[in-house]
Amino acid sequence: MVTKVKNLAELNGREPPKIGVYICWCGVNIGGVVDVPKLCDYARTLPYVVLASEYKFMCSDIGQGMIMEDIKDGKINRVVVASCSPRMHEETFRRACEEGGLNKFLFEQANIREHCTWVTMNDVPGATEIAKDHIRMAVAKVSELKPLEVTTVKVEPSTLVVGAGIAGINAALDLANSGYKVYLVDKSPTVGGHMAQLDKTFPTMDCSSCITTPKMSEIARNPNIELMTYSEVVSLDGYVGNFQVKIVKYPHYIDQDTCTGCGHCVDTCPVVCGNEFDLGMKPRKAIYLSFPQAVPGQYTIDMNHCIRCGICKEVCPTKSVRYNDKPEYVDIKVGTIILATGYDPYDARRMKQYGFGRIKNVINALQMERLLSSYGPTGGKVRRPSDQKEPKKLVWVQCVGSREFTGKGRKYCSRVCCMYATKQARSYKEKHPDAQIFIFYIDLRAFGKGYEEFYNDTAKNYGIKFIRGRVAELLEAENGNVIVRAEDTTLQRPLELEVDMVVLSVGLEPREDIDDIARIFNVTATKTEDGFLMEAHPKLRPVDTLTEGIFVAGNVVGPKDIPDTVAQAKAAASSASTLMARGEVEIVPYYSIVLSHKCAGCKSCISLCPFNAITFNEIENVAEINDILCKGCGTCVAGCPSKAIIQNHFGDAQILPMIETAIPKKPEKEEVEVE
């Protein structure tokens, strides 16, 4: 005999709950730990539960079919599935409910895998008790759930792509070619990103510029793409389908429409400073173009260095110099957003034993790319910094800042360094067959298509010596040479080599401004331990974020090589266009509602709302919540001093019964006996 409590629906005269509980084995994940049939027996004893079934995989066609059948047969009007995390399959089971003819919000999932059997796998009786608790709570909640209607909103057929590296370029082109309007924004004066700085690409050894620059000019020509270089997103409002974006365009101090890129100004500019594009290894003028193939090809004045001598203004044949240019703010409206802001190379100064910045002939790998590049600071002739001598003996140090668990570097493997070092070494050997080259590694990771073959070919045909051992330290010799100390771990012998130059294979890090990006685009919550943005699901939603309508591609999510970056860019473009092609999107109705008769008009909720979803109705003197902007976080509900805000689906009516049933207590007088 079970005491059953009348629920609100019943008290309100609606049809009493008829709950079906379905328990999933999840193969051995759940079934191997707890006794599923016994859990079914237990579930049948719970209030309003009319049936309890089990199946090996509830998420399968057959499993979903069981739920649909029972709904159609009128046996049940509420559903609990005890299985995995709702993040995994809530949508799956809701769809099943819907197809069976039930409002999909009358479903609740009990997570007895992640929250139970995976963490309590060595304690069978304990796990069974925990599973019972989860099921009991889910049943308590589902009894009190109300049917909700989804809202649909229109999706603007336009995309903002942030970052114009190889990821942003590819995403922008795919979308533009599908007919969508694309705003492509980049912080720097040119598109191309890091890939434009590279010399060659592994494993094909094709020239990086040759495959990047045509894409860059395609961007500039495509009528559907509005290119905004030297610009940054300042703020974001709105929601999926209807984002309002404010962008600042930094002043170039050169009229970008009239500048012809003739270069007269550069020849006469008297100010010399370091060129960022060549990582400071080559001087540039205060008026500059990042590199010859830069897109757009108009000039920019670097006001941090300009002395306003006025010479450029005098010599400019088109009179394009504008010293009084001001930043310009632009507002755009887009339906979707793709973040492709890329990475920063690891700052090797933090690995002090390698003396980067202190020992002259220790450079990082991106500097090496520029030295190898035909349009680099030395025209492709590699020279060491201390005396411009051609190095004959070189060492590449792997894992600089990667696989480092002490806080000086990053824990993850940066995935590209083994191959780019092999590529650079091979490139150097092609030009200097006499050079002696050593690559010091911990593990040589050649996992991509054609990578192992690339290593094999390089080692075999180019005589590069691969030594297994992480470099312990670098010392500077009197003559500028670098002394490399390490252990050859395979020979178990310490090793000391004096070489002309050392290249540090630095890993990839989240961009310095990743926190700003996360904050502006409201994806802060998705920042994971590695510092990159987190995807919505590492396997099944790799280019989505948890903010609907915002996608990610390339190194902003984590280090990856060019093929993977481009694949993600295309995936992000495809995901964005899926939303836009449908033209409208469903909004989960978890929003909160102000009970205007209770609202005292204190406005405290307005400042609490992290999504700017609450406005104040001055006439009625009450707060109003925009149900589309509201993400249902519940902050206002908890904060309202008059208890005038209630939340759909996660209200007191649903949560309190869960708590009550979770904590065993004595029956109280108010309880109504049924049966």
Partner: protein, 317 residues
């Protein structure tokens, strides 16, 4: 932090009082000039040495180290010490017992037998740290103005020693242990030049019980360091630790002896403890700084010649 800034309990250790007393003499004299009072820690013992005794039994090391700390706790003063080994031990013991309640309970059980208790009320400071952070380069530089008429002008090979900077996490040098410069800055106030030389931050070879048990191995470190110092044309070796000091001073004689076939010429580089150099720079006499050898006593330090330094003093006096 227990005490006022100008008063410390002076922990002597073993090598300074029992082998290199002029380090104590020079340090006391220099600290007096900067009005820092050093109070004796009566009945203190060996720290105990971090390489040997800690290597034999960590618990004993903690207990005896804690006893030393309790002497300063009774005085209500932070400890100032002159030895990297003592620094390594007492810093580590103090930190461990402040953080780890269980270990502290155990240690205090032992200490109760001699009527003591570790309370965790004081800090451990190396004299290099006190000179650099408390007195500060500026104050020392100002004093050199009233000191010598001409700068000392020696080429210095500074030897930091290991436990002054490592492990980096408890020490006051902003986690810098690969390429620190604070010691160079400090000694360059004297007007001398601190040289860069190969493996400047390498160990002298004395620590970890290696000198005690494997003298030849230990001296091979020293030989290599001496060769690198010679290559950089060092006039003087500067130390901040009596055990490193001993290894370069007495060790130099030993290296010349046991490696005579391996070295091109015998080494003959004077070794000074850094307070001796600072003292000279602020105008104190070579005698006050313990640079004058006793004419009667044989087989006592310094074993390396002080004459090159004294000649410099003579030149400018």
């Amino acid at each position: 932090m227990a005490s006022n800034d100008s008063k410390f309990a002076l922990f002597l250790g073993c090598v300074i009082p029992n082998r290199y007393p002029f380090i104590e003499r020079a340090t006391r004299a220099v600290f007096e000039k900067f009005k820092i009072e050093l109070v004796d820690m009566k009945g203190a013992s060996c720290c105990p040495a971090p390489g040997v005794f800690r290597g034999f039994d960590i618990e004993t090391w903690l207990v005896v180290g804690a006893r030393n700390i309790t002497i300063a706790e009774e005085l209500g003063l932070d400890i100032a010490l002159m030895c990297n080994g003592c620094y390594g031990s007492l810093l580590e013991v103090n930190h461990t017992l402040k953080e780890d309640k269980e270990k502290r309970r155990k240690v205090n059980e032992h200490l109760a037998k001699i009527g003591r208790e570790f309370k965790g009320t004081i800090e451990i400071r190396h004299v290099v740290d006190i000179m650099y952070h408390d007195i500060g380069p500026e104050k020392i530089r100002n004093r050199t103005k009233y000191g010598r008429k001409t700068p000392l002008n020696l080429n210095l090979a500074v030897h930091y020693g290991c436990h002054l900077t490592k492990p980096a996490k408890l020490r006051p040098w902003d986690m810098e242990c690969e390429n620190p410069t604070f010691f160079d800055e400090l000694v360059e106030i004297s007007g001398c030049k601190s040289l860069n030389y190969k493996d400047k931050f390498m160990c002298c070879g004395a620590g970890g019980g290696v000198r005690g048990a494997f003298k030849e191995l230990s001296l091979d470190y020293t030989r290599e360091k001496l060769e690198n110092m010679t290559a950089a044309k060092a006039d003087v070796i500067i130390t901040g630790c009596p055990f490193c000091h001993l290894q370069f001073d007495l060790g130099q004689v030993e290296v010349n002896n046991i490696f005579k076939d391996k070295i091109s010429a015998p080494f003959n580089i004077p070794v000074l403890y850094f307070t001796q150099l600072i003292g000279l720079a602020i105008g104190m006499t070579p005698e006050e700084m313990g640079l004058i050898k006793s004419p009667e006593l044989k087989g006592v330090p310094p074993f390396t010649p002080m004459k090159p330094v004294l000649t410099k003093i003579g030149d400018s006096a």
